[in-house]
Amino acid sequence: MVRKFFDIIANNAVPAVFILISAFAIPLSGFSASYLVQELLTRIGRNSFLILSLLIPIMAGMGLNFGMVLGAMAGQIGLLFICDWGIVGIPGMVLACLIGTPIAIILGIFCGHILNRAKGREMVTSYILGFFINGVYQMTVLYLMGWIIPITNPNLLLSRGYGVRNAVSLSGIRAVLDNLIPTVITNPEGAKQFLNVNGAGSFFLIQLPFFDGTIRIPLATFIIIALFCVFIVWFRKTKLGQDMRAIGQSQSVADSAGIPVNRTRIIAIVISTVLACYGQIIYLQNMGTLNTYNSHDQAGMFSIAALLIGGASVSKASITNVFVGVILFHLMFIVAPMAGKNLIGEAQIGEYFRVFVSYGIIAIALVLHAWKRNREREAARRSLRGGNGGKA
């Protein structure tokens, strides 16, 4: 009984600590509620899809897919092409996905094969693989684009004639998905003001009398994310999902039951990579600018940190973890610099603090996982003892 209680605490310790930190930091930051809600909604729309892409490899027992940056890179290549061709709006986004998909699939297959060669070390391998592919990506984007790969738009290219600029404006698709179904929540007062400014356009105006301030909701993005959640729920119910769960728990048993273990693991990574590709495209349409050489790096780290803060572990993660994580992580992300500034007079401290938290939380989650696994292994050995051994 006590143990059970302890387990519940232990299993939700991470989110609990973050709720506590936020409870202290929010008042300190001095942000208004509507500002926070607006920021959070934006960030949920921006990041959830990326984080959701991590779920499937966890299900297949492959740990946190640090190789999701591969998918992010594929997405960025898709975006570079549509920028070059000048495809804008929703068609541009869809086309970017369409271009990114085959690249993501190829990278995913490659990643899957590598990970099958490094069983038991998936995480560190996929992490290094991210760096390796980053090298290849940089070579492609910095040297081959504009030289072998036809990129002609001078806004994209470096002045030397080849290679892509460090920052690429995605003005053509900026927020197109977020604003596809423009929705605003406000109070009646705010509604009046809003209509005065924007005119009676095709807005969904939701009026809440007690609400303070005016916030926009990226409804279309949320719908996509919701569809994706439905996809994951459905996927879990499929034979493939069942096989992945089986492999995640015991590769040897799954293998002896005739499940193609290696192939299934590759499929898991491919799905994750492709989804990360779409996730990155959604993320960047919100941001509106592409940092050609480091957008993807951060995508991986922040997504993983957010998922872990949501209470997921290396071997178990749910959709709830994703949303709890994205809210808590970004809440901290928004308030930490301000809170740091107001507390110590140094915004820099808050900046560093949130970086520290991102890395620290991953470290702690990995430690807890390894620790727990080693303990479970011990326990499993003990259970083999059977009977009354040890009592004599």
Binding site: V124, I128, F132, G360, V367, N374
Partner: protein, 380 residues
């Protein structure tokens, strides 16, 4: 014969060795001064050697590649900054002692003359206990997470670097050359060691050649400056590691890495050996960064140490080490090859393609090397 050589050296090493050789051969034809490049390679070899050396104990004890090297680097940075902070105070105290106890040689003149070596030595001496404590804690942690050391080491390194970012801002350093001028507190991102111990090892016993030689009708400036002191320092550190691996403890450590079950059945305390190896690795990392700084000229704080483990890891793997076996020879060969490529690719590629691909090549070579090592079939 050749087959045997290939087998012993391993394909990746041969390919990269040939690549480096090709770079050295092409260099003169594209107008790159080979001597300068070679000299740079040697200097960078000396700078990075000790940090690569830090990989040996942990690899040998079966803790895998020390992706947590930044932890040792942090200890080194603390040692370096503290030595500068306290430099004048310590020297004043020593002079006082000299006067009080009438130690004839411990005079102000003596201290001024040896201020720089003393500063360097004190940096190392301060860093070692800090590294030992951090390494001990880190070792304890790694003992609890057997099987996942590398990933956890990576993130322990990252989180400690980001934690120290906060600490650098808050620690009560006062020395005017180190803190931000406008705020009067918080350490700068880069601190020059000029006037403290810049090039103290590089210049010690350094051999300088200056000549002009004619090759194929071209006059070539030969401007060599071999950092003998730094190489000697590396050799001494390597020798210490070599000796240590031959002691009773070192032998036990190797056995732990080779087969922990065997070691346990032979009465060896496996966890203790692993902890010692992690401490050693951390201490070597701390010394390594100080050696690096005295040559580089700056102490890089904040996110500086962030990715410093990767080149060291890649170097030793390039030298032929595996995830659980490494020798001094691996360190020497690997560091030379890696730093050679790092110095040669930008210069040669710049001359040939008029573009600097060195960063990309570094990324691909170093991470490719680590990937290769990770996916190699290890004895089950």
């Amino acid at each position: 014969m050749i087959k045997n050589f290939i087998k012993n050296a391993g394909w990746p090493r041969i390919i990269i060795g040939l690549f480096l050789l090709a770079l050295f051969i092409t260099a003169p034809f594209v107008g790159v001064n080979v001597f300068t490049s070679f000299n740079n390679t040697i200097v960078r070899f000396g700078m990075n050697g000790v940090m690569v050396l830090a990989m040996i104990p942990m690899v040998q004890a079966g803790c895998g590649l020390n992706f947590g090297l930044p932890l040792g680097i942090i200890a080194g940075l603390l040692g370096a900054t503290l030595s500068i902070e306290l430099n004048t105070e310590i020297l004043a105290k020593l002079a006082e002692l000299g006067i009080r106890y009438k130690i004839s040689w411990l005079t102000r003149e003596f201290l001024t003359a040896y201020r720089e070596p003393a500063g360097f030595a004190s940096a190392i001496l301060i860093a070692i206990p800090i590294a030992a404590v951090l390494g001990w804690l880190y070792g304890k942690l790694l003992n609890r997470v057997k099987g996942d050391e590398m990933m956890i080491a990576t993130y322990v390194g990252f989180s400690s670097v980001s934690f120290m970012c906060i600490a650098w801002l808050l620690l009560p350093y006062k020395h005017p050359t180190m803190v931000w001028g406008y705020a009067g507190r918080g350490l700068r991102t880069t601190i020059s060691v000029e006037g403290y111990w810049l090039h103290i090892l590089n210049d010690w016993l350094s051999l300088n050649f200056q000549d002009k030689i004619e090759i194929g009708g071209k006059i070539l400036d030969v401007n060599l400056s071999i950092p003998t002191g730094m190489l000697i320092f590396f050799a001494v550190m390597a020798f210490i590691v070599w000796i240590f691996m031959r002691t009773k403890t070192g032998t036990a450590m190797t056995a732990v890495g080779s087969n922990p079950e065997f070691a346990r059945a032979s009465g060896v305390n496996v966890d203790k050996m692993r902890t010692i190896s992690v401490m050693m690795s951390t201490i070597l990392g701390a010394i390594g960064i100080i050696v690096y700084e005295q040559s580089f000229g700056f102490i890089q704080l904040y996110m500086g140490p962030f990715y410093m483990a990767l080149p060291a890891v890649a170097s030793i793997l390039l030298g032929g080490a595996s995830v659980n076996k490494a020798t001094i020879l691996n360190v020497v060969v690997g560091t030379f090859l890696f730093q050679g490529i790092l110095t040669m690719t930008p210069t040669v590629f710049n001359s040939v393609f008029q573009t600097d691909m060195s960063e990309v090549i570094r990324l691909i070579v170093s991470n490719g090397m680590i990937l290769y090592a990770l996916t190699r079939k290890v004895r089950a």
